[in-house]
Symmetry: C2
Subunit: 557 residues, 2 copies
């Protein structure tokens, strides 16, 4: 590791931390009470006490039994750059009581994350409730300040990655999935985040140019209905020439060539009535701009009577000049029916006019798609190759938040437990380790948490795995493979080796592999089998010992 | 207006446009197809054609009959700063086909919004489906580039403002509403945006420090459960002294003073069993840090057996020293019951120990609140003064997106209509004006859209208002007051006077007044009456004339 410079910024062996992706992510992006608590800790001389917090969630989203963990890199960037400016400190001073002592602001001036340790599950891993996604250890006042930004950065990232993975699961591996959600996302970086994390969850591309630039995500896009309706007639096309793809000659009147094809198609199909001429003009104009891979939105007027014949005429004319068309996009109507009809039309053109590959042109569908509509399309049968998904994907319409929490589990080496009448809200105390145990078939069997200093589970050795709260739920497991889940990503002042922060593509790759590794019954959309999360016998006993001690005195009488 | 400098940035008479609030909001924050279309327009020599787009939504959110319009200032900032950097242009070049001509990128280099006109309804206005919130006119290639960012900036802003207004509507005027959603928001500026727009919608304060700094929104916060459980015992409090508020003397052992009070309370209430000592230590410590306005989270262990007696002991001790406590926060359990019990406890203490005002201490409630739970609390009866609302508010859990669209309504002075089999998706063509007509009682009666050059409705003159699509729905109205809705916020190259962009507080004020102005049956939660949106007789006829002309030829046969 390199020596620190005058700032708190660290360059880790795992790659440069170049500042936050989003410049709004500053130490002030937190709840006021984190600062009031920091002051109270400082005033009590308690601010340097070593605390351990677990970041985890309590329930898988979308009625499923798995979650994709994402957002880690943003958290590490955040702490790498964690330093309050003088202006920010002044604002905190104004926001707290005027009785707060100056010494506190001197203290804040020196605060950074050089003494904070962050362990986390690698980004892109499939994760489960209660198992810490991150374990953050450091001076309590500092670690508290990280709570809100960490939860914010993990919550939506993991939720939308999971949503993307679920859409992929329904769509199947062979389909192309395009994220089209920027306009409906919850704010600008809601849109940018959606593009990034949907890519991690298995999407292939985005329409969001900013996300393409920031993260190198492949970009996709054609044209809109407005483009089509901005044309009135073919007269608007003044430069009608198009050079052949091989550059050997130029077609002087591409418009006539298209019209010739349109007539042939109409004759062959026995189609009566003209197609929409504004639409035809728009398609020709778009083809003149992008002759290779020509794509058209075909539902502005009437898909089968206008859009498809117009598209085919342009595509065939392009073919004459050596170009290969891309395909169509459907943005309304009965997508199962229209995609099947369009496919038939393409295939009949391939056959009739002897144009190899024409039947395989790409059909993209969009228009308020979600898991349910994809599932329904599958059941009806369709010919869609690519889905453009927006609103439901990026806003996580089916469940707009993941309940990520950040709980104190140890302070000054003393375990802490948060009790609640609702057992699902009781926290699992202690600084812990967690492991994923794999069975003979190669599937993960369960996750187990142990105390920090317990021996780790061993391959081939029987281990008792207990439900953290229900006494009767327990099982012996003989793992064939043991994977420790938490890895060091920010070593604090220790000299621990840190794990690399991989590039986005690798995170995506990991995520896809992780999802494939799961036993299929955990992953199905309806009535999936819960994946088991357990604790060691020792940790179980300790939880329940603490529980008794912490319960309200009245209840013990 | 000032002369332009070398950038496109304009200072309007309506206040300085100092750059985007969010530095991620750049011209690349758009869909790729806006650039492919821009190229196609440019290639066809059509890019400078004058186009008019309407930005509107089709349906009110949350099952209601009204929407709060918000996000306008961000849009105006965006266009004021709209200029592609060389780096951005290079990225667009890489993202488009390699066949795209250089001339286009030279063109992009010169693009700004100096020739774009933006008319809009003032931010904070109550608005309705189909009526343009913004009318954007300019060179078609440029205006298309604005579509995605404008829709993004308006969509969530209006949605969450409306959600806030609805929460206020249920909670009632007298309650304090606190936005606590940062950690559950969809990304960092999802959180910052939520704070801003919930404030516009009628919230009183936020926990989000960054939003407090950016927008001057009042900040609120106390402490968390972790703060309470970070304490083990009273021994941790080493400096036990607290100066009286008047500064005249110092209490050397505040801990003993609190314990004395706790004993008195327990005796008087006949409470057996000790309260939780970690909690007591945490409260004392917090009170020593913030003796004035002391607030405590009382549900870490047991509200009635521990939290409330501990709080009261500390509050009474503070009172002895001349300080006034603030109150409590409840974050779990039966809030109706617990708030009522807490209120009784406070009142009995006021009476028994003669502490004026103790019965009126503030009770704040949080914990997954939303419109329904607020409504249920009202029905049960409760003693909560302030609500802290997070997840459901900021993610708009009940409906995570508003369907804002941006439709071409005119190009080169030719009206354009977008047809659809679904009538609700048919756009209303033409560059239009819109008016709100008020009746005798002072309530808005309906909104009416007219062609740009029609005479405006006049006070006292009968006007025929027609449903845009249903022939039988029509009514004569004699307005007592006529308000033109669209105002100029960005004059483009014209010399039109622009409206001021008011400060956030004024927008909030406008919103609150607008909501109060509405007839109550439009605003109720269950089965609200739809507010009527109409068109003039002339515009009605024109829509239907166009519709016939644009419909697919096959259907006309």
């Amino acid at each position: 590791m390199e020596a620190k410079d005058n700032g708190p910024k660290k360059k880790l062996s795992n790659g440069a931390i170049e500042g936050p992706t989003n410049p709004m992510v500053t130490p002030l992006l937190t709840d006021l009470y984190q600062f009031t608590m920091a002051y109270a800790y400082w005033k009590a001389g308690k601010h340097q006490e070593r605390a351990v917090f677990d970041l985890y969630f309590r329930k898988n989203p979308f009625g499923g039994e798995y979650t994709v963990f994402a957002g880690l890199e943003e958290c590490i960037r955040f702490i790498a750059n964690f330093k309050l400016t003088e202006e920010e400190i002044n604002f905190v001073r104004e926001s707290l009581s005027s009785s707060c002592e100056d010494g506190f602001f001197d203290y804040l001036r020196g605060v950074d994350c050089s003494d904070v340790e962050v362990y986390a599950i690698p980004e892109g891993t499939v994760v489960f409730p209660k198992v810490p996604l991150m374990r953050v250890e450091g001076p309590i006042a500092v670690v508290q300040l990280l709570e809100t930004p960490f939860v914010n950065l993990i919550n939506y990232a993991s939720l939308v990655s999971t949503n993307a993975a679920r859409h992929r699961n329904v769509a199947g591996k062979s389909k192309t999935l395009l994220e089209f959600g920027l306009r409906r996302a919850q704010g600008p970086d809601g849109g940018v985040g959606a593009s990034k994390y949907c890519y991690i969850g298995g999407f292939d591309a985005t329409s969001n140019v900013a996300a393409g630039k920031l993260f190198g995500i492949p970009l996709r896009g054609t044209h809109s209905h407005a483009f089509v309706s901005s044309y009135m007639s073919l007269d608007e096309i003044t430069d009608k020439s198009l050079c052949r793809k091989d550059g050997l000659s130029t077609c002087d009147d591409f418009v006539s060539l298209v019209q010739t094809w349109l007539n042939k198609i109409q004759l062959s199909k026995g189609v009566f009535g003209a197609t929409n001429q504004s639409e035809l003009a728009a398609f020709i104009s778009y083809a003149l701009a992008f002759p290779d891979g020509f794509l058209a939105l075909v539902d502005t007027y009437d898909v089968m009577r206008s859009g498809i014949p117009n598209f085919c005429a342009v595509a065939l004319a392009l073919c004459d000049l050596g170009y290969k068309a891309g395909g169509i996009r459907l943005d309304s109507g009965d997508l199962a029916y229209l995609s099947s009809e369009a496919r038939k039309f393409f295939c009949s053109i391939e056959k009739e006019f002897g144009v190899p590959g024409f039947g395989k042109l790409t059909i993209t569908a969009s228009n308020d798609l979600n898991e349910e509509t994809l599932d329904a399309l599958n059941k009806q049968g369709h010919e869609v190759d690519a889905f453009g998904i927006g609103t439901y994907l990026v806003t996580c319409y089916a469940q707009a938040a993941l309940g990520v929490v950040f709980k104190l589990v140890e302070i000054n080496n003393q375990p802490r437990i948060k009790l609640s009448e609702d057992v699902s809200k009781v926290s699992i105390p202690c600084k812990k380790r967690s492991y994923r145990l794999y069975g003979k078939e190669g599937y993960p069997l369960l996750d187990i948490m142990t105390g920090e200093n317990e021996p780790s589970p061993k391959v081939g050795e029987r281990i008792l795995c207990r439900h953290p709260f229900q006494e009767s739920k327990r099982a012996y497991v003989v793992p064939q493979h043991v994977e420790e889940l938490l890895r060091c990503y920010w070593p604090g002042s220790s000299d621990k080796k840190t794990d690399t922060l991989p590039p986005l593509r690798d995170i995506r790759e990991r995520c896809i592999k992780q999802l494939e590794l799961m036993r299929p019954d955990h992953m199905r959309r309806l009535n999936p089998t819960p994946y088991k999360v357990s604790v060691s016998a020792k940790l179980y006993d300790f939880i329940h010992f603490l529980w008794l001690n912490e319960a309200p005195v009245g209840e013990l009488q």
